[in-house]
């Protein structure tokens, strides 16, 4: 077992894990942060997306031990208290989720996108999110929600 000290959504956190355990396993099974989902476990679906030091990664491809000293961001950290982040609100307004299993990963990826590219084109959004599978929506309403959130966030900035 390995002892790890890390920061998750701004909170200092410690855990122990098996050297084979992924960051996703640790988040879900050891820390009860079940917002990140396992859709594949092989880096192909993006449902497990989190940020590590600000970069979006598939947490199923990162070992728990690698979180040592890092800043991890998950879907649970996107809202501020009871105030939803604009992208969360736009996903509700645009009905951009059906089952919602892809939503946490897509929100994490979208937040990172808009921090980097506040004024993305539709094509940019589609390529940025190409690693996040959604089987329910056909992406149409997701893309619209992201574009609309970007617009609002620009005018608020």
């Amino acid at each position: 077992m390995i002892h790890v000290t890390t920061t998750i959504n701004g909170d200092e956190t410690e855990f122990v894990c098996d050297p084979r355990e992924t960051l996703l396993d640790v988040l879900r099974d050891r820390l009860s942060l079940t917002g990140a989902k396992e859709g594949c476990g092989t880096g192909d679906c993006g449902a497990c997306s989190v940020t590590v030091d600000g970069t979006v990664v598939c947490s199923c491809l990162v070992l728990g031990a690698e979180a040592e000293g890092k800043e991890i961001g998950t879907v649970e950290g996107i809202a501020t208290g009871e105030d939803l982040h604009p992208i969360q609100q736009k996903f509700l307004d645009h009905a951009a989720l059906q089952c919602g299993i892809c939503t946490p990963g897509i929100l994490v990826a979208t937040k990172a996108l808009l921090e980097k590219h506040p004024d993305p084109t539709e094509t940019q959004v589609r390529y940025w999110l190409a690693g996040n599978l959604c089987r329910c929506t056909g992406y149409d309403k997701i893309i619209r929600a992201v574009m609309d959130a970007a617009k609002d966030m620009r005018s608020a900035a």
């Binding site: 990140a36 009905a95 989720l97 089952c99």
Partner: protein, 745 residues
């Protein structure tokens, strides 16, 4: 049940409020199948057959039992014996008996203190297999000399003298098809194939189960039908359904694939054996290898047409591959094939064929998309060769109210003509077809379904409402239920909370399938609200000391009518509810029925596609879905169903397929090699909601979830064929297949 005049003036219906489960789902709080844990839980893993077909001579679990952390192992010996028919088939699929019937078939399962320990222990189980010949292709499986999956599996409908792998047969039709073909100016006959695809829900099957020695169990799982899970688990564990309480988690997609039961009985058996809660979650590769993909199909179609576009006759023969068990949806394929057309002469027959593959499961309108692909391809070719407009030809021959359906019924009020007219009028249809591109059009049809339904609606003292339904919410249905209840009661949308009740709390509810939820649970919700209103009026009448028939309900208030009109101050729902303890006790409305008026739904899709003749790759440029929803309760979620079905259809048409090797093993059991459409593959998907009310629902609702996947395979195949200048007869139209077709042209 017929509702003569569908309600027309609505306050809430047709608006787009935020879904009640929305905040939980955007904050990560919503609990899906794998998100729940129980104190002291064990983790389970399943050992699966590496062979497509093998006799299981022995299973030695002794080494695994001694491994670190292992608390229990189950094999077939731990399940009920003496099952017959359908339940025997289900058990056989959940845990192999004498033979492994497909790559991935479950052989044994381990529960251990961690998921890693359980997986490690699987490697210590020794299975002695005698490998048998296998067959995975439908046409091969019907031939003399093909390996027999199981003797005696054929149903009574199967014609004499067929291979034992042919287990079902259906035929229907009317008129004289040969005379019809003789009347035609042009007859086209061809053979088409589609491959098996997977629903591809992003959430793998997952459950958490507990069971005591007394046979009482609890299951938490992601399923489209928790009442069915209870029933199947009861049979497979040798106990009663009522002893197993199942709670449906949030469900991360199903599309028909989560109507089946795969892991819950295994988790229960392990929980019983270890006396500990057991969590069991499939990996993605297990989902591909051992849940229920679609049937694949091989189809012969012959259609005759006159120069003016009149279709004179149609014949279809459909061979459906359904995996190692009976149940391929050939009957639906045959019934849907010519449903859009009012043909005087039509005949269709279908064969249900077993192979060494996982048992097929429903996937959105099971059997219909492949039929549409074959039939609508031939219709398109006829239009091309006769120089006719594809929408005009479809309008000319369209099924409409009163015409005789290809499968025998007389059509009630249906909306195909309205969809075709809307397609013709849509700007998409009048824009120029892009250079190097092609345009495809297709109709699609699905029956829709009612099914056993129970709903209960309880008032709280503060005037809010708790609505309990028994159909898992697979695409926003709780929003629709809140809207329908609020509409009837005349209260705010936010004052209603809809819960998916567990199996011990509500009467039996059929699975969320057949596009039945908004129709059947919606109808039951409306009726439960009306039942509640009667009770509210009765309380008001008692308070006012007048006859209860002299009280009516309007906009959330009980009001005196007739001679008493204006005599008493109208009483709100909240006011009556606040006094209910003292005026007769709790007020609860309910409704139970098996509604049979699910209105069928037709759709028309238009698609423009470009084909790169160098690489064989296709890009979908513009896509429009036009579909009859009867009445759209929450238009956003109706559009979502239209778009989702189209996107899945695009995947099925262009990329997705189960690829089996010579060894009978699935070669692409992951999202890398089984590639579903990603955001950068797709255009925006335009939608038109047509509303031809269904007389079988008080608001006119028709189910919408399934019809949306019926036209896309054909519409895209027609677009690609027109772009490439060569008729594509096999799906998926992957680059190698397109290059091959171009080469052979």
């Amino acid at each position: 049940m017929a509702f003569d005049e569908a309600k027309k003036d609505f306050n809430l219906i047709g608006t787009r409020p935020a879904r009640p489960d929305g905040i939980d789902k955007v904050t990560g709080r919503a609990q899906f199948g794998a998100d729940k844990a129980a104190p002291g839980q064990l983790h389970a893993a399943i050992l699966r057959s590496p062979h497509a077909h093998a006799r299981i001579k022995s299973i030695d679990t002794s080494a695994a039992e001694k491994a670190k952390g292992v608390k229990g192992i189950v094999t077939r010996a731990d399940f009920a014996t003496g099952l017959k028919g359908e339940m025997w088939n289900k058990l056989e699929n959940v845990m192999a008996g004498e033979k492994a019937l497909y790559d991935g078939h479950a052989i044994a399962a381990v529960a251990a203190t961690s998921a890693l320990a359980a997986k490690d222990a699987l490697k210590l189980i020794k299975v002695d297999f005698e490998v048998l010949d296998h067959v995975t292709n439908v046409d091969e499986s019907m031939k003399d000399g093909a390996p027999v999956i199981r003797e005696g599996a054929a149903g009574p409908s199967t014609p004499e003298g067929m291979h034992p792998n042919v287990v079902g047969f259906y035929s229907s039709g009317h008129g004289d098809v040969d005379a019809g073909f003789a009347d035609a100016d042009l007859v086209i006959e061809d053979t088409f194939t589609t491959e098996a695809t997977h629903q591809g829900y992003i959430e793998p099957h997952a459950c958490l189960a507990q069971m005591g020695k007394d046979g009482k169990g609890e299951v938490w799982c992601c399923t489209q039908g928790h009442f069915n899970v209870a029933k199947v688990c009861g049979h497979l564990l040798g106990t009663e359904a009522s002893q197993i309480r199942v709670t449906a988690s949030e469900i991360g997609g199903g599309f028909g694939g989560k109507t089946e039961v795969f892991i819950e009985p295994v988790a229960l058996a392990l929980a019983k054996k270890t006396n500990r809660p057991v969590k069991l979650v499939m990996s993605r590769s297990e989902v591909f290898r051992a849940s229920g993909p679609t049937a694949s199909a091989s189809m012969d179609i012959k259609i005759g047409m006159k120069k003016d576009g009149t279709m004179t006759a149609g014949r279809g023969v459909f061979r459906l591959q359904g995996g190692a068990f009976p149940g391929a949806p050939g009957t639906f394929t045959a019934m849907c094939a010519f449903a859009p057309y009012a043909l005087e002469n039509v005949s269709q027959e279908a064969y249900d064929v077993m192979t060494n593959r996982p048992k097929q499961a429903a996937y959105r309108a099971p059997g219909s998309p492949m039929a549409a692909f074959a039939v609508e391809s031939v219709v398109d070719e006829l239009c091309n060769q006769l120089g006719l407009d594809p929408i005009e030809v479809r309008l000319k021959n369209a099924s409409r109210e009163g015409s005789k359906a290809s499968f025998g019924i007389n059509w009630p009020r249906i909306g195909l003509v309205e969809c075709l007219e809307a397609a013709k009028a849509h700007p998409h249809y009048s824009t120029a077809i892009p250079e190097n591109g092609g345009r495809g059009v297709s109709c699609g049809f699905w029956f829709n379904h009612g099914g056993e339904t129970a709903v209960s609606l309880a008032l709280a003292e503060d005037g809010t409402v708790s609505l309990s339904v028994g159909t898992p919410d697979i695409g926003g249905s709780r929003a629709s239920m809140c809207m329908m209840a609020a509409e009837e009661l005349g209260i705010k949308y936010d004052d209603i909370r809809t819960t998916i009740a567990d199996t011990a709390t509500l009467g039996y509810n059929e699975i969320s399938h057949g596009s039945r939820v908004t129709y059947a649970s919606g109808l039951a919700t409306i009726e439960a609200a009306r039942d509640t209103i009667k009770k509210l009026c009765k309380r008001a009448a008692a308070k006012w000391g007048i006859d209860e028939d002299a009280v009516y309900w309007e906009d959330g208030f009980a009001k005196p009518s007739g001679p008493n009109a204006g005599e008493f101050e109208p009483m709100s729902l909240a006011k009556i509810a606040s006094k209910m303890g003292a005026t007769g006790g709790p007020i609860v409305g309910h409704y139970e029925a098996t509604p049979e008026g699910a209105g069928v739904s037709f759709a028309v899709h238009i698609v423009d596609a470009e084909v790169d003749k160098e690489t064989g790759s296709t890009s979908v440029g513009r896509y429009t879905v036009i579909q009859d929803a009867g009445k759209a309760i929450h238009p956003s979620y109706v559009e979502g169903q239209f778009q989702g079905g189209a996107a899945q259809g695009i995947g099925w048409a262009l990329n997705e397929e189960y690829i089996y090797g010579e060894d009978g093993r699935l070669q692409n059991a992951g999202f890398l090699d089984y590639r579903i459409p990603v955001a950068s593959d797709l255009p925006m998907i335009d939608t038109v909601i047509v509303e031809v009310p269904n007389p079988g629902h008080p608001y006119g609702v028709r189910g919408v979830g399934e019809t949306s996947i019926c036209p896309p395979l054909a519409a895209i195949a027609n677009a690609v064929s027109n772009a490439a200048g060569v008729r594509m007869k096999s799906l998926p139209m992957s680059p190698p297949r397109i290059l091959k077709a171009l080469d052979e042209a």
